[in-house]
């Protein structure tokens, strides 16, 4: 019983997160402006981080936790650098 409930919930959650990633990616490709693309990339990073956490629950492996922490750090650094670039036109002044 508990296996059936959790398997169903994990599958639905993964499908929802996959659709969310796809929507973020469509917005990232469409734009229309550079800030929309950067925000799309940031949303994509957050969604993939959550997807990895759900993978961790699915497989029962805590290794996925470290991976999602690293993805969160990379996403933050990437978005800050890109936002800085949008503001000034150069990353390092």
């Amino acid at each position: 019983m508990s296996v059936a409930i959790l398997t169903l919930a994990v599958t639905i959650a993964q499908m929802a997160l996959a659709v969310a990633m796809a929507l973020a990616m469509v917005r990232m490709m469409r734009g229309p402006r550079a800030q929309d693309r950067v925000l799309g990339l940031d949303t994509l990073y957050v969604n993939s981080m959550l997807m990895l956490l759900v993978f961790g629950i699915r497989t029962g492996n805590t290794l996925y936790f470290e991976v999602s922490l690293i993805i969160a750090v990379f996403g933050f650094v990437a978005t800050v650098a890109l936002a800085k670039f949008l503001m000034r036109g150069e990353v390092i002044e």
Binding site: L39, V46, M87
Partner: protein
């Protein structure tokens, strides 16, 4: 998925509820991000995923591993704290960059620049 069989019923129900809440909120946030009309509206939508969307999935993960390893596992808190602190920083930077770009182009939809900032007052604060 053999490890799931070790979970008692109450734990799997709790984990499922939190997973569905988190994934649902994230999906709604991304859907809003896809659908909304202007950039400043879109700025609000992903916060659904990063506030309670992420929190619910992290709580689900904490419950799952705490029950599986029969000891409190709460290192997921680190991701929660990290996401809570970094999301406002990125959104604020992006919002200000967008505002700056729109103002530089003279877009009439954004409020105009305030009157010149108090350069003298700021200079005095630095000297202290």
């Amino acid at each position: 998925m053999s490890h799931i069989a070790e979970l008692p019923l109450w734990a799997s129900v709790l984990v499922s509820i939190f997973l569905l809440i988190g994934a649902g909120l994230t999906l709604i946030g991304s859907f809003g991000f896809y659908r909304l009309g202007s950039f400043y509206d879109r700025l609000h939508a992903p916060t659904l995923g990063t506030s309670w969307g992420a929190a619910a999935i992290l709580i689900a993960s904490m419950i799952c591993f705490s029950v599986l390893q029969s000891r409190p596992v709460f290192h997921e808190l680190l991701i929660g704290i990290f996401v809570t602190i970094t999301t406002p920083v990125t959104l604020m930077l992006l919002g200000r960059a967008a505002l700056y770009r729109d103002r530089a182009e003279g877009n009439p939809e954004v409020p105009a620049m305030d009157p010149p900032k108090g350069v003298i007052e700021q200079g005095a604060a630095v000297d202290e």
